[in-house]
């Protein structure tokens, strides 16, 4: 009976043998502890700041590593209409600035770009790009080289109708006539030009720009972009350079690109140290001749790409350093070049400063000589007038604003210190942004607009920023190696560019650099740190001790719940890519 009574009493009035917590701690807003505040803030990768065209390389590599080849290719096209060209012939300053270089080896950025262009070509991809509504202004471009075509491409995206006038029978400029096929196959160039035309750019060939023609253009166009390049080889300024047998390197390359096979039997001498000199020499070897490059500085001072020089030497091209031509004379049917020997007398601007090595001279006898020491504008009036008097010298172009007349911009080799394809594209982009701003907001806004479109510390510009894309939200800070959390990266060798072997390339103009597979390109792109960019790796979410990093819908995007974030900063330090920032709480 006693037991029954006790059981009844317990069921009516249960004894709590231990206290039990049932409410969550969510009522405790620990965010009030915080004096440092983390936030998502993408920054600028050094490669993109080093790229004259301001390509969003970190994003291109990220998309490539995810197999999103079309999106990666379109990301390039937003900043550069020539991925197939630049993927082959760019001097890739991006790779020199790559943070991965301090870890193991830089990303093979150029090779990945080439892969994306090849893929787009192979599958005949059509880019889907943002385009602004049509504008009333029409713009004329003189010169269908990389700069002129880039300007027309960007202006078309910005809503302008563009006509490009080209003196030669085909578009492409130096890309069409000055770069040998073994470096840049015709199909690759034609594909890019076709895409630019498909965008709406009209190219009129066989229309050289004369002062009269320029005046005509000014009557029917709102602005003119003059980008007719440096097509004339500079003089050597030595006696005898007008003799028979002394030729112009660029003209020689153009003859080959027109389909001729010039007679190059015997020894040819090439004066110069740039890519044109090396291209002439290598073309001569391919046509069965012998080639000797004479350069007044050392091999390591040559402006030509190191790889190209190396391959030229492997192919049998000879190189003599520290000699400058002093006199050119006839020697029977041949020519005799007297060379003054030079020596290094210090360093200047990253290369050797030279002076004559006493009275030392020597002679070389050859069948012919090619000048390849540089080029200049075909006509003196192409060159920009001195700054002031209505002409503003910008980093990559010169803009002349004249009362009552259409604006005239000059760019490409006419204005650039460094004559590269990437710089030519940079000119075209800068001119496009400047003209667009002129028409939309007036001349006074041009400088501030260009400043707003700068990638990192400049002078590279971004068209995506100008067009209001997401890239404008990034901090200009250029990420340095020390800001990468390298614990999240493994050492991995840089890809090796497959190439034709020496025997295969010696007698042929076939492209030397071979295609790479998607597998190799993806693996290479995966090596990229994606400096300053979020790739949704989830570290911030994973390591948060306070469950204060929330995933967005379908796992995409992250946000911080400041109700609970205590500001410990773990998410910022564990972010492998420096896509977050920790700053003092403002309260």
């Amino acid at each position: 009976m006693v037991e029954k009574a006790q059981a009844r009493a317990e069921s009516e009035n249960p004894i709590r043998i231990m206290p039990r917590s049932t409410r969550s701690t969510e009522g405790n807003k620990t965010g009030s502890w915080r004096y440092l505040r983390p936030r998502y803030e993408e920054k600028t990768a050094p490669c993109s700041a080093a790229c004259p065209a301001g390509e969003d390389i970190g994003k291109v590599e990220m998309l490539t590593s995810q197999g999103l080849f079309k999106e990666a290719w379109e990301t390039i096209l937003r900043e550069n209409p020539f991925p197939g060209v630049c993927g082959r012939v760019c001097f890739h300053p991006c790779e020199g600035s790559c943070n991965r270089g301090e870890f193991d080896d830089p990303i093979a950025i150029r090779a990945v770009e080439r892969f994306l262009a090849d893929t787009a070509e192979r599958y005949d991809l059509k880019p889907l790009l943002e385009r602004l509504p049509a504008r009333p202004e029409k713009i004329a471009v003189a010169g269908a080289g990389p700069s002129g075509l880039a300007a027309a491409w960007f202006l078309t995206q910005l809503g302008y109708a563009c006509d490009v006038f080209e003196a030669s029978p085909e578009a492409g400029g130096i890309l069409r006539w000055g770069i040998p096929l073994y470096r840049l196959p015709l199909a690759a160039l034609q594909h890019e030009i076709a895409r630019i035309e498909a965008q709406g750019v009209r190219i009129h060939t066989g229309r050289p720009v004369t002062p009269g023609f320029l005046r005509d253009l000014e009557t029917s166009y709102s602005a003119v972009y003059l980008a007719c390049g440096h097509g004339r080889t500079t003089a050597l300024r030595v006696p005898g350079e007008e003799l028979d047998g002394v030729g112009d390197g660029l003209a020689f390359l153009e003859r080959i690109r027109r389909g001729e096979t010039p007679d190059v039997r015997g020894m040819s001498v090439i004066i110069g140290g740039g890519n044109t000199a090396v291209d002439v020499a290598r073309s001569i070897v391919r046509l069965g001749g012998e080639a000797l490059i004479l350069y007044r500085r050392r091999r390591k001072d040559m402006p030509a790409f190191g790889d190209e020089v190396q391959m030229a030497l492997e192919e049998g091209v000879k190189l003599e350093e520290l000699v400058a031509p002093e006199r050119i004379e006839k020697d029977g049917g041949r020519i005799r070049i007297t060379l003054r020997h030079m020596r290094i007398a210090g360093e200047e601007g990253g290369r050797g400063r030279i002076e004559p090595d006493g009275d030392r001279t020597s002679r070389v006898v050859a069948e012919r000589l090619f000048k390849a020491t540089g080029a200049e504008a075909g006509e003196a009036w192409y060159n920009p007038p001195p700054a002031g008097k209505g002409t503003v010298a910008l980093s990559h172009c010169a803009l002349s604003l004249r009362e009552g007349r259409p604006a005239l911009a000059r760019g490409g080799d006419l204005t650039n210190g460094i004559k590269s394809v990437a710089h030519a594209i940079a000119s075209g982009k800068q001119a496009a942004i400047a003209l667009d701003t002129l028409f939309r907001e007036g001349a006074d806004s041009i400088l501030s607009r260009l400043e707003a479109c700068t990638v990192g510390v400049g002078p590279s510009l971004s068209m995506e920023i100008h067009m209001g894309g997401e890239r404008r939200l990034r901090n200009r800070h250029v990420v340095v190696y020390g800001e990468i959390n390298t614990d999240y990266f493994r050492y991995a060798p840089r890809m090796t560019q497959p190439r034709l072997v020496r025997a295969e390339r010696a007698r042929s103009f076939a492209e030397i650099d071979l295609r790479v597979s998607g597998n190799i390109a993806m693996r290479e792109a995966e090596r990229c740190f994606n400096c300053g960019l979020c790739d949704q790796c989830d570290n911030c979410h994973l390591f948060c001790p306070d469950l204060a990093v929330l995933r967005g819908k379908e796992g995409l995007g992250r946000s911080i719940n400041y109700d609970y974030c205590k500001g410990c900063g773990l998410c910022v330090v564990e972010c492998p890519r420096n896509a977050m920032t920790l700053e003092e709480e403002d309260r």
């Binding site: 206290p19 039990r20 917590s21 049932t22 409410r23 969550s24 701690t25 969510e26 009522g27 405790n28 807003k29 620990t30 502890w33 915080r34 959390n485 614990d487 790796c537 989830d538 570290n539 994973l542 390591f543 948060c544 001790p545 306070d546 469950l547 204060a548 995933r551 796992g555 719940n561 109700d563 609970y564 205590k566 500001g567 410990c568 900063g569 773990l570 910022v572 330090v573 564990e574 920790l582």
Partner: protein, 293 residues
Amino acid sequence: MELERSDREFMHPGHVGCPGCGAAIAMRFLLKALGEKTMMIIPACCWSVIAGPYPTTTLKIPVIHSAFETGGAVASGVRAALDMKGDRDTTVVTWAGDGGTFDIGFQALSGAVERNEDFIYVCYDNEAYMNTGIQRSSSTPYGAWTTTTPGKDWKKMRKKNIVEALAAHRIPYAATASISHPEDLVRKVRRAQATGGSRFLHIFASCPTGWKIPSEMAVKIARMAVQTNIFPLYEVEEGLHYTINTKPKRFPVREYFKIQGRFQHLTDADLDVIQKMVDEDWELLLRKAGEHA
């Protein structure tokens, strides 16, 4: 990072762990791996506080707060009760700090695993009695400042090797893990869950407050402990079969010590002594794993 991609969380925000608390991260990973059919015993430790003041709780699973020395015994009882009810699905876990494991709870732990009780004992190791004010424990490493080893009386004894002590009980599974290596940690928890009998996990959980480090460095420092071989990641089956999970490049220990306030008094000569200890321990581990340096 390849880790439980689903968003399942068994912790609420709003807990009172210090900013950058390694023990809170360790708990998150553990529960993501174990899932909801888990019962937890928490003897006195930091987590007694982090789990929430009555009547609130940070955890979405049943928890029993137990006396300091009873982590092994209470778990044995909970397991027995579940067995009586016929519940074989629920995993019983003791979650204790280093004080409750290495020192105060050691006899109950040793007794429970000697009986091969069917539970997982997890020690999250922050290398001192942090919650009560940073007193040294037998887990505090050689060289460390604590409030009970202050000034020139810094701790001159080595850290107890708890995994070896447990392995000597020949339990089915013992392993080390670190909050800096989430995939490895989660894999080991799942493995422990799938194994029967007594299982022991030793999780390295940095403590910004007690170690005098910036809170944002908590994971970085835990990772450095692995990279320098100060805290090697390995598993022991049946007390016999050793598997070393990562073989780091053996970074010098110096960097690890230099950035922690609790080691600021150490001289280069002291660090040389510590380097020798670490090397010696690593060689010993390699020998046990049947490998040679």
